[in-house]
Symmetry: none
Subunit: 215 residues, 4 copies
């Protein structure tokens, strides 16, 4: 396939810098992780957004978090229909194979996916309603969240929808039998967060999702 | 929903440490990114594996990479069937909305998903063949890759399959019309990498995927 | 000596996070402790095990506990033979220089040292019996404890030996004249605990060690 | 043994606070660590001093560090003589059984043990020279360090000796064959630090110990 191109030089240079410093300092631990396997303490589901990096804000190093990133950190409802479900596969692997202790869904402010969902649900983004729109069909997961915020004052709707994205994902996670069992037996705890990427602040869902408190 | 738990204290402490140091040092840039929007230069599709962190090995800071992470860094073929396709949505957003200049698929050694696919295809993991197995059905994407490696000596098959996962994802990406157009008009370049998580080395696909060379 | 390496970056980052938060909030107290000297209320002897942290479970802050950690929280019998005895030195300093009010020996479940001692005493770990085995020779301290548990049902022996490790250490502490004097004059009290690291529970020795009760 | 007393009420209360909060939040992880065993990334040798807590300054949580604490964070030279050597046993366990990736020796300012050694070596602490002084005989390990600092201006000697304590421990560690092998094969890296407990700063040994640089 003639499309493959060499890695841009700026990334080659950065990689070699990492190899000579961080890799060299930690080679013993990285080799160990490769040989012994990963045992991450938690799974994080966060957005693909380039401004959101869970490993940074939680000072996590290699081996600590199993991370699934998709548009708007959404988890669809449990659907064991034999079709391909990437997010469901990631959750299944984390819970059943890795047996993570914590499953964190982290949303964020200024989320393009959430803004797109809001536009779509309020009829201002016909292109997202097309059958062929992958982003539109993915954001369908969040439609019930839109219904919960659409009667709020206009300027509060998108921030509220960013929080609903997290709450919906947590609710949908609980429709997975293996997630429910892991939570009910104390094998795993669920956490919902929203990170304000401009202010650097972090809020967490409390009281069953009815309240949000600063971390 | 009574399942929500407060964030574990060790993560709260680490977050506050980040807020007081990295965030404080860069607040001007982070505020700007929030207000102006993200403009990542590249998209990376990598694995959820806790030992793989693209932002580390490429020294990438906030705003640089739009990152989608799933099991075994796979991209399914283009399927505009109106169903929910998370990976396809992420690619669509990166190419059409963000217009990234580079799309990198990065695989890695010791990949649990690839090992699972190999076991499944060689008949040694009946549980992954069940209709209800999300991991199994997700790894179906890689079945054509297994056919390409199954006649190699036994000990070479899984490493070869880790490379095929990357090549298949690149081939599947090219079945998306908007990806093909972006590549053919020179708006975007595609790159395939495999990272050895124990040795720290990085190989890139060259010559249409027929060769792999050290970065 | 060419062996010294820079501190791994993830620890540098975490340290700076601590400096900017916990240290900054408490700098007045820490400066004071540095200038005035430490005056810990208690000494704790606990295991090196990474899963046992006395400062966590007792919410202890800087300046509260003088902590000696060794394999299996053992204290050897008093032996003023002019040789180097690290544990004895720590106890001597705590009792005579710091005059701590409480001396707590805290054992724990799933103790690798205790399991090693059990294997060694039951003839299943010849490598620990070698003269050159430091772990083996250190665990010799606990041999009398093995004699007390070896007739119990097999599955009760190791948990019983974990408790004996604590009781033996307390008995050995009382062979130190300065410990005996501090206890008999009411200057210091001795306490024996076993922490279940999985369940989070804490048991304390009572009735001269014949009974263990939940804290 | 009538000496055992119930735990002081203030610690009982603190423990129950921990059990209801930190333990409850992390019970899944703690149970997992108990069942699967510890896999700490590093070993730290630090002082018993109540003002030094490695887990705090490095934001480490349960399972991260295997910690040996003794007077003045000293490691004696390798002496496989069949006698009991607690520090040597801790190092042997960390390197051979746990195969830690990093071994950090962390000294600190205002160290009572180091001050005692200085007083002893300069003839101002005859009680520490007695055969029966455990602290004195333990601090004999550092006598060679005193020789290296005794010609410095008086007010620089103790801080210099605090640094020598770390360097000597690292040199002594390298006399252990299994430590030397682990370092030379890249299985483990050695690090030397001195923490200023009043200022909160951290220095690390560089250039084979000839220089100290701020972390």
């Amino acid at each position: 396939m003639q499309t493959l191109r060499p890695l841009p030089q700026y990334l080659v240079t950065r990689y070699h810098g990492w190899k000579a410093t961080a890799y060299a300092e930690n080679s013993a631990w990285y080799s160990r992780l490769a040989t012994d396997g990963q045992r991450p303490r938690g799974m994080v589901i966060s957005c693909c957004d380039s401004r959101v990096h869970v490993t940074s804000i939680f000072g996590a190093d290699s081996g600590e978090f199993f991370i699934h990133r998709n548009i708007a950190n959404l988890v669809p409802p449990y659907a064991p229909d034999g079709l391909q479900h990437g997010t469901s596969a990631a959750v299944e692997y984390a819970v059943q194979a890795l047996k993570v202790a914590h499953l964190i869904v982290m949303g964020h402010t200024h989320c393009g996916g959430v803004a797109g969902c809001h536009a779509m649900c309020s009829g201002r983004a016909p292109e997202l309603e097309e059958k062929t729109s992958f982003v539109g069909r993915w954001m369908d997961i969040l439609r019930p969240g839109y219904d919960r915020v659409k009667d709020l004052p206009e300027d509060q709707q998108i921030p509220a929808l960013e929080r609903e994205a997290v709450l919906m994902s947590i609710e949908n996670l609980m429709t997975f039998p293996f997630v429910r069992t892991a939570v009910e037996t104390g094998q795993m705890s669920l956490h919902g967060l929203v990170h304000d990427i401009g202010q650097g602040t972090l809020m967490q869902a409390a009281d069953g999702g009815k309240a949000w408190m600063a971390v």
